[in-house]
């Protein structure tokens, strides 16, 4: 299947949406520092890096076709565009959350104390998934707690309220919540490494018609990441600029980066994409998503098909709408950009 009966014509201007998250800050920095323009010029195209303040809205806009690509977490790529029938290619596996998401409790440092409590979190998001995995790790189920949907922007304020005893959040909010008196992180994504992946996804049809876009994006990404990883003044300057863009202090931003496992080397990213562990992870994620009714009314977890490097598929092979495409990362690894 595929969304369109007519193949999109090659075009020269593309919009890539991003929202504030530690692992995605290289994108706006690359835009400001001229790296985007450099690579776009090289391939004779124009790329606009568009900020969408609200994460959900950025993914919605991508699904609706207003953006050609978007920064998104693996679970949301599956449940929003892919489950909505939009054929999507994940061309860059940027990082995985290695403590960027966490379960917070007030007054106890034992996860088991969460039983029966109300937990504030962004429902049906990776936080929800993390909570499910956390409960699983101590032999509980989601039904053992009560979830209260809370907007991501408000979760810090909510956690400051005496009413709220438990919450699940991601960075930068999580780092502020950890600073609160009597608050304990009882479970984090570091306990399930590699399961919460942060991707750059692009519309498959657009990518097919314009492979240059994929090359330019990969070029931008790995140049910027290499720059920010440098330990010298240059690297520090780049990180400080990203911190400012994220509204954080440089120290706070560095601490966020420390819980983000950046695949700064394209080889590592290719390895992660090719690893069978990705299939296992995505199986867990899709089973959770399906159990929460996120597959658009489908009757089986197999309804949405996924393709992995090397021709492996998961779910309905006739209806593949999420493709992990390592070809551009490979080009970067091989220095062919």
């Amino acid at each position: 299947s595929g969304p369109s009966n007519e193949a999109p014509k090659p075009k020269s201007e593309f919009n890539i949406g991003w929202s504030i998250y530690a692992g995605w800050m290289p994108w706006p920095y690359a835009q400001q520092a001229g790296i985007v323009k450099k690579w776009a010029d090289k391939y004779g195209i124009k790329i606009n890096i568009v900020q969408v303040n609200d994460y959900v809205e950025s993914v919605n806009q991508y699904t609706a076709g207003k953006l050609d690509g978007v920064t998104v977490a693996n679970m949301d790529a599956l449940t929003i565009p892919a489950a909505g029938g939009k054929d999507t290619s994940a061309i860059i596996v940027g990082d995985y959350s290695n403590g960027n998401d966490g379960v917070m409790l007030k007054g106890s440092d034992d996860l088991k104390a969460i039983k029966g409590q109300s937990v504030n979190l962004v429902e049906l998001s990776v936080s929800h998934y993390l909570l499910a995995r956390a409960l699983n790790s101590v032999g509980m189920k989601l039904t053992d707690v009560k979830t209260v949907n809370t907007a991501d922007a408000d979760i810090v304020g909510a956690f400051a309220s005496p009413d709220v005893k438990a919450a699940v959040a991601w960075n930068p909010q999580l780092s502020v919540m950890k600073g609160q008196a009597g608050a304990h992180e009882v479970f984090s994504s570091a306990d399930i490494p590699g399961e919460i992946l942060d991707l750059l996804c692009v519309d498959t049809a657009t990518l097919k018609a314009n492979p240059k876009l994929g090359k330019a994006l990969a070029g931008i990404w790995y140049e910027t990441v290499a720059l920010m990883q440098r330990k010298d003044a240059e690297g520090q300057k780049a990180r400080a600029a990203m911190a400012k863009l994220a509204g954080a202090t440089p120290e706070n931003f560095d601490s966020q980066l420390s819980t983000t496992y950046l695949y700064s080397d394209p080889k590592a990213a290719v390895a992660a994409a090719d690893s069978p562990k990705l299939v296992t992870t995505m199986t867990l994620v899709r089973d959770f998503s399906f159990s929460k009714g996120l597959f658009n009314g489908a009757t089986s977890a197999d309804a949405v098909g996924m393709a992995f490097p090397g021709g492996k598929t998961l779910g309905d092979a006739q209806n593949v709408t999420l493709r992990f495409d390592d070809s551009f990362m490979k080009m970067a690894a091989d220095g062919k950009l």
């Binding site: 609706a64 304020g157 309220s161």
Partner: protein, 271 residues
């Protein structure tokens, strides 16, 4: 006949009024059909059949966890919050509006404060609201009240303070004290305007309700809309919005009706 003089009979009025709404519905159907012709899985403008399916599940199938019928539980929760919020705001508008409108020293003292509160966007101060009121029902009702009451108060104040001076003088020559002027002259004449103000506040009240439910909630029409917004499930959002519109229009009509019934003197053709 000149258009200013063309009066429309009741039956005709209903017909005429339905026309643009039907046209809007038709326009939607055409647009949706077009999008679906291009992409049969389009989520943005779902077809009626899809909406009916999704809604049927929410309407008739009990939630396995809570055992509730989701749609009705949402409606009940939202209406309760809305009713409380509008009720409190209306009461405040009446009491504060009367005091401010009828008593110049009170107006001088508290008018600027009310203006200040009216122009401060409450959603910017949510963290403070959370600390003060927690995250429960109180905070949601409070957000509605803070959102709509100042506008209503200012409207009633303006109305009461522009009552003809003669009436106030006349009441005093008839022995009325300030208190009596307020309850016998200002209050009854403020009532039709209060009804009008509530009608105008209905739209904003729903906005604040939905915002409140979007912030922290586990049931409610706004909660559901924001939850499924993550998945661009317009097949749920659109029927929910239509339902909200229907509820609001019914409230609007009921208010108009009660207003005309209770205050005939304010609506009789004068000459």
């Amino acid at each position: 006949m000149r258009w200013v003089n063309r009066h429309v009979r009741r039956g005709e009025g209903v017909l005429l009024g339905a026309l643009p709404i039907l046209l809007a519905v038709l326009a939607y159907l055409v647009a949706a059909a077009q999008r679906h012709a291009q992409n049969p899985a389009d989520k943005i403008l779902p077809l009626p059949g899809k909406m009916a399916d999704s809604m049927a599940a929410l309407l008739f199938d009990a939630d396995p966890l809570s055992g509730q019928l989701v749609f009705w539980a949402d409606t009940l929760a939202s209406l309760e919050r809305l009713g409380l919020g509008i009720g409190i705001a209306t009461l405040m508008a009446l009491v504060v509006g009367l005091a401010l409108g009828a008593l110049p020293p009170v107006r001088a003292t508290f008018g600027p404060l009310v203006t200040g509160i009216a122009v401060i966007p409450p959603i910017a101060l949510l963290p403070i609201l959370f600390i003060a009121l927690g995250l429960g029902e109180t905070a949601k009702v409070a957000l509605i009240v803070i959102g709509i009451a100042p506008v209503m108060i200012r409207d009633i104040t303006a109305h009461v303070s522009s009552l003809p001076r003669e009436q106030i003088i006349k009441a005093q020559t008839l022995g009325a004290s300030s208190w009596q002027v307020i309850i016998r002259v200002a209050l009854p004449q403020a009532m039709p305007r209060l009804f009008h103000a509530v009608r105008l506040a209905l739209g904003p009240a729903w906005v604040f309700l939905i915002s409140a439910e979007a912030i922290a909630s586990d049931v409610g029409l706004g909660y559901r809309i924001f939850l499924v917004r993550r998945y661009l499930s317009m097949d749920v959002i659109l029927p929910y919005v239509a339902w909200i519109a229907l509820l609001a229009i019914v409230m609007d009509l009921a208010l108009t009706f009660v207003n005309r019934r209770m205050f005939p003197w304010a609506h009789g053709e004068s000459h």
